[in-house]
C-alpha cells in the first residue's frame, strides 16, 4: 500500500460519503469501517495494515475535502495510549468492542496509573484488585487523572497480588468510569484551576473480561502504554518561536519600555536555547522518519521543561508592575491543558509542572544515564522483596 493507492481509496470513500451531507458520527464510523481511521492498524479495526507514516497522507486528503475529524485533542489518552495497548494486549472481543467508539470520539478515555504514594515509582502502587468469581473488586485512590470527569472508560493498573515483588503482582484493566463506587473529584492546582482529578474507587466491580493481558502481567502492559506516550510526544514539526519564547519575544518587540540590557542578554540566551531545542526535536523526528529513533526525546523533554520555567520567569520580570498581578484565581476546569494560554502569572505557575509531569526531570536524567550512556542502574533494595513488606 503506497501513498497514491491510499489517496485513491480516500477519494473513492469520499465519493460515496459526502461529509457535507452526512451526520458527523455516521461519517466517522464509516471512515473507521473503511480502514481509513488509523491506517497502520489491522484491517477490520479501522486500518489497512499500511505503514504508520502514511497516516498524514490520509489526514491531508480528508482535511482537503473539509471532512470532520475525530477531535483527537479531546481524546488524547484514548488515541495515544489506550488504543495501542488494546490493540497489542487485548483479545479480539475487546478490540471489537472498544476501538471503534474510541476512535470516533464517542467514548472518551482516561488513565488511572499514578497514586499519591506512587509517582516516579509507579510499580509501588497500592490500589487493590481482589478476584471475586468472574469479577475483580477494586479499592484505592488514583491521582493526576486528566479527563476523568468526562471519560466513559479508563485504563487502570492495580495490585492483584501483594505477596509478589512489586513489579510482578500487578494486573491491567479497563474500568467503566460510570460504575458504582467510582468517585471523581477535581484536584485544584497552584494555578487555581483543576486540569486534573483525584479518582477514588471503592468496591468497584470490573468483569474479568475487561482485563488486558494476563493476571500479574500488568507492569509489562503498562510499560507498553507508556512507550506509546513517548511516541505520541514526537508529534509534528514545530515552528520557530512557538510556545513561550514566541510570547516573550513579541512582548519585547511590542513594548520598548520594558527593554534593559540585562533582560536583553537573558532573552537572547533563552531564544538561542529554545531554537536549538526546537532543532533537536526536528532532528529527532527526522530520525524517526527514517526508522532509527534516537533517544533524543528525553533530552528534548528535559530542555523544554527548563526553558518553559526560565522563560515564563523572565517574562514576569520583564513586565514589572504587571507581573505582580494574576489574571484570575477562579476555580475552573479547563477543557485541556494549554501552557501558553491565559496570563503570564498563569504561565509561570503552570510551567512548574513541566519538570514533574510525564516523568520528572530527575528520573529522565536517570533514564538517559542508564539507557543511553550505559551507566550503572540505581541500587535497588526493593526489587525482590514482596510488595507488602516494602516500607511506605
Amino acid at each position: 500500500m503506497d501513498a497514491d493507492e491510499l489517496r485513491q481509496r480516500v477519494r473513492e470513500f469520499l465519493a460515496e460519503h459526502d461529509p457535507k451531507r452526512m451526520d458527523r458520527l455516521e461519517f466517522l464510523r464509516a471512515r473507521f469501517d473503511a480502514g481509513l481511521a488509523w491506517v497502520h492498524f489491522p484491517t477490520g479495526l479501522g486500518g489497512l495494515g499500511a505503514p504508520r507514516e502514511l497516516q498524514t497522507v490520509v489526514e491531508a486528503e480528508f482535511a482537503k475535502a473539509g471532512a470532520p475529524d475525530n477531535r483527537p485533542r479531546e481524546n488524547s489518552i484514548g488515541l495515544g495510549m489506550a488504543a495501542p495497548t488494546i490493540l497489542r494486549f487485548g483479545n479480539d472481543e475487546q478490540r471489537r468492542r472498544f476501538l471503534r467508539p474510541l476512535w470516533t470520539g464517542e467514548e472518551i478515555w482516561c488513565q488511572l496509573f499514578s497514586e499519591p504514594g506512587a509517582g516516579s515509582d509507579l510499580a509501588a502502587l497500592s490500589m487493590r484488585a481482589v478476584r471475586d468469581g468472574d469479577e475483580w473488586v477494586i479499592d484505592g485512590q488514583k491521582v493526576w487523572t486528566s479527563l476523568a470527569h468526562r471519560a466513559q472508560w479508563a485504563i487502570l493498573v492495580a495490585r492483584s497480588d501483594p505477596d509478589q515483588p512489586k513489579h510482578k503482582g500487578l494486573t491491567y484493566f479497563i474500568c467503566d468510569m460510570t460504575a458504582p463506587g467510582v468517585e471523581v473529584r477535581p484536584l485544584r492546582q497552584i494555578t487555581g484551576e483543576a486540569e486534573f482529578n483525584e479518582v477514588f474507587l471503592s468496591g468497584v466491580r470490573i468483569p474479568d473480561s475487561h482485563r488486558l493481558g494476563e493476571v500479574g502481567q500488568g507492569w509489562q502492559v503498562a510499560m507498553g502504554t507508556l512507550m506509546n506516550e513517548r511516541v505520541a510526544i514526537g508529534g509534528s514539526n514545530i515552528a520557530r518561536e512557538s510556545g513561550m519564547i514566541g510570547i516573550i519575544a513579541q512582548t519585547w518587540r511590542d513594548r520598548p519600555e520594558v527593554r534593559t540590557s540585562g533582560l536583553h542578554d537573558r532573552l537572547l540566551r533563552l531564544w538561542v536555547e529554545a531554537e536549538a531545542t526546537r532543532l533537536t526535536s526536528q532532528r529527532l523526528r527526522q530520525q524517526l522518519a527514517v526508522g532509527s529513533p534516537g533517544p533524543e526525546g528525553s533530552a528534548v523533554k528535559l530542555s523544554f521543561a527548563r526553558l518553559n520555567q526560565e522563560i515564563s520567569g523572565l517574562e514576569l520580570e520583564m513586565l514589572g508592575e504587571e507581573g505582580l498581578a494574576y489574571d484570575d484565581w477562579t476555580f475552573r476546569r479547563p477543557e485541556r491543558a494549554d501552557f501558553t494560554a491565559r496570563g503570564p502569572g498563569y504561565r509561570y505557575l503552570r510551567a512548574k509542572g513541566n519538570s514533574i509531569e510525564g516523568g520528572t526531570s530527575e528520573i529522565l536524567r536517570n533514564v538517559i544515564a542508564e539507557r543511553v550512556l550505559g551507566l550503572p542502574q540505581e541500587i535497588r533494595t526493593d526489587k525482590d522483596v514482596p510488595w507488602k513488606e516494602l516500607p511506605r
Binding site: 536583553h264 531564544w271 531545542t277 532543532l279 550512556l373 550505559g374 551507566l375 550503572p376 540505581e378
Partner: protein
C-alpha cells in the same frame, strides 16, 4: 529557512569512518601531546595524507577549480572528527583560505588551489582568530601599488603557512591580496598559544609584494563569507570535541572505583553526564543546521551559523570542563589529555565571535533589538 536536513547521509558517514580510522592510527592523543612542545607541533605529514589521499583540504571547493566538489556538510563531518582528536593540522586556516580563493578563482588563486588541495602548500587568511563575521573589514594593513605594509595578529596557522590572503586597504578601498610568505618584507612571530594544538602568530609587513585578488564590496563579501563558513564549520568541530569529552568521561566513570563502586553509579555524576549528553545532542542539531544552511546557501545562513556558534562554543567549553572535573586529580595532570581538550575548547570559544557576539547578531536578525 526551508526544511534543513539535520541527519548524516551514508556518504557522510563513510567519510567520517575513513577520517576516524586514519586519526586513530596516526593521531592518538599521546602523539598529539608528545608533539606539542617540539619544533613540529603540527603533523604536516598527517595533513598531507588527509589532503592528498582523502581530499579533505579543499573538500568544499568546486572540482573545476581543483577541489573535491563536496559541500560544507562534508567539511563539517571532517571538523567533528578533527575536533574529537584535537588533531594538530592546519584545517581552520585552510577553510578560510580555500573559501576566499574559490570565490575568486581567476589567477593567481586558480594556480594555488590545487596545491592547497593536495596538501603540498598551506595557506591561511591574515585576519584575527578573534574576529567574527560581523567585524568591520580590517584596516591594519595598507596597500600601495601592490606592496603591503602593516601588521595582522592572531593569524591562525601562520607559522606553517606558505601563502597568506591579506585583507588590506588600498586608498581606503577594501581589498584582498595574495602574499607569498617567503617574499621580502614579511616577518612572522609565533605567539605562545593557550591551545597547544592550534597555532597562530603575528605577521608584520613592510612593503611586501602581493597580488590583488579582489577589491571593493566584493572583497568585503568574500572575507565575510570565509569567516561565516569557518564559524559554521567550527561549530561542528566543537560538537565533535564535546562528544569526545562526554564519551571519554563516561568510559572513565565506569572504570574508576571509589567507595567500592564505579563513580558512574553515583547520581551526582550520572545527572551531570545526562545533562551533558542533552547538551551535545542539542549542539549537534544546531551544527548540522549550520552546515546544511552553508551547503545550500540558504537565505538564513547567517542566522543558522550564529545560532550554532552561540550554542556550541559554550557547550564545548562545558564539556571540556566537565571532562576535567569528573576525571578528578588525573585530569589535572600534564600526562592526561584533558588539558588539550580544555585549551582547544576555550580558545575555540573565542574564535570567530564569542557566543555573546553571535547572540547580538541573532538579536538583529530576528528583530529582538537592543534597548
Amino acid at each position: 529557512m526551508s526544511a534543513p536536513d539535520l541527519l548524516y547521509s551514508q556518504v557522510e558517514e563513510d567519510l567520517r569512518d575513513s577520517v576516524r580510522r586514519l586519526l586513530a592510527d596516526r593521531c592518538d592523543w599521546t602523539s598529539v601531546l608528545a608533539r606539542c612542545e617540539t619544533e613540529q607541533p603540527y603533523d604536516l605529514q598527517l595533513w598531507r595524507t588527509l589532503a592528498g589521499e582523502l581530499g579533505l583540504a579543499a573538500l568544499a571547493v568546486p572540482e573545476q577549480v581543483g577541489g573535491s566538489g563536496a559541500s560544507a556538510r562534508e567539511l563539517a563531518v571532517v571538523a567533528e572528527e578533527l575536533g574529537r582528536a584535537v588533531a594538530p593540522v592546519p584545517f581552520l586556516g585552510t577553510v578560510l583560505a580555500t573559501t576566499v580563493l574559490a570565490e575568486c578563482s581567476a589567477e593567481p588563486a586558480g594556480e594555488l588551489l590545487p596545491q592547497l588541495a593536495d596538501g603540498s602548500r598551506i595557506a591561511t587568511v591574515a585576519v584575527s582568530l578573534a574576529s567574527s563575521p560581523y567585524s568591520p573589514f580590517p584596516r591594519s594593513v595598507k596597500a600601495d601599488s601592490g606592496s603591503l605594509t602593516g601588521t595582522a595578529s592572531a593569524v591562525v596557522e601562520l607559522p606553517f603557512a606558505d601563502f597568506l590572503v591579506v585583507p588590506a586597504v588600498d586608498s581606503d578601498v577594501p581589498s584582498l591580496y595574495l602574499l607569498d610568505v617567503s617574499a621580502e618584507g614579511v616577518t612572522r612571530t609565533e605567539t605562545t598559544p593557550l591551545d597547544l594544538t592550534r597555532r597562530f602568530g603575528t605577521v608584520a609587513l613592510d612593503g611586501a609584494p602581493a597580488q590583488k585578488l579582489v577589491s571593493g564590496a566584493a572583497a568585503e563579501r568574500v572575507l565575510r563569507r570565509a569567516l561565516l563558513t569557518a564559524a559554521g564549520v567550527l561549530a561542528s568541530e566543537q560538537t565533535g570535541l564535546a562528544q569526545h569529552c562526554l564519551d571519554s568521561t563516561v568510559e572513565y566513570s565506569l572504570t574508576r572505583y571509589q567507595f567500592g563502586r564505579q563513580i558512574g553509579s553515583f547520581q551526582a555524576i550520572k545527572h551531570r553526564l545526562a545533562d551533558l549528553w542533552t547538551g551535545v545532542s542539542t549542539a549537534r542539531a544546531t551544527a548540522r543546521n549550520a552546515a546544511d544552511a552553508l551547503a545550500r546557501d540558504d537565505a538564513e545562513t547567517e542566522l543558522a551559523v550564529a545560532l550554532a556558534q552561540a550554542y556550541c562554543s559554550d557547550l564545548a567549553v562545558l564539556a571540556a570542563e566537565e571532562h576535567l572535573q569528573l576525571h578528578g586529580g588525573i585530569g589535572m595532570t600534564w600526562e592526561h589529555p584533558a588539558h588539550l581538550y580544555l585549551g582547544r575548547a576555550k580558545s575555540a570559544q573565542l574564535a570567530f565571535g564569542t557566543a555573546e557576539r553571535h547572540r547580538q547578531c541573532i538579536g538583529e536578525l530576528v528583530n529582538l533589538p537592543t534597548p
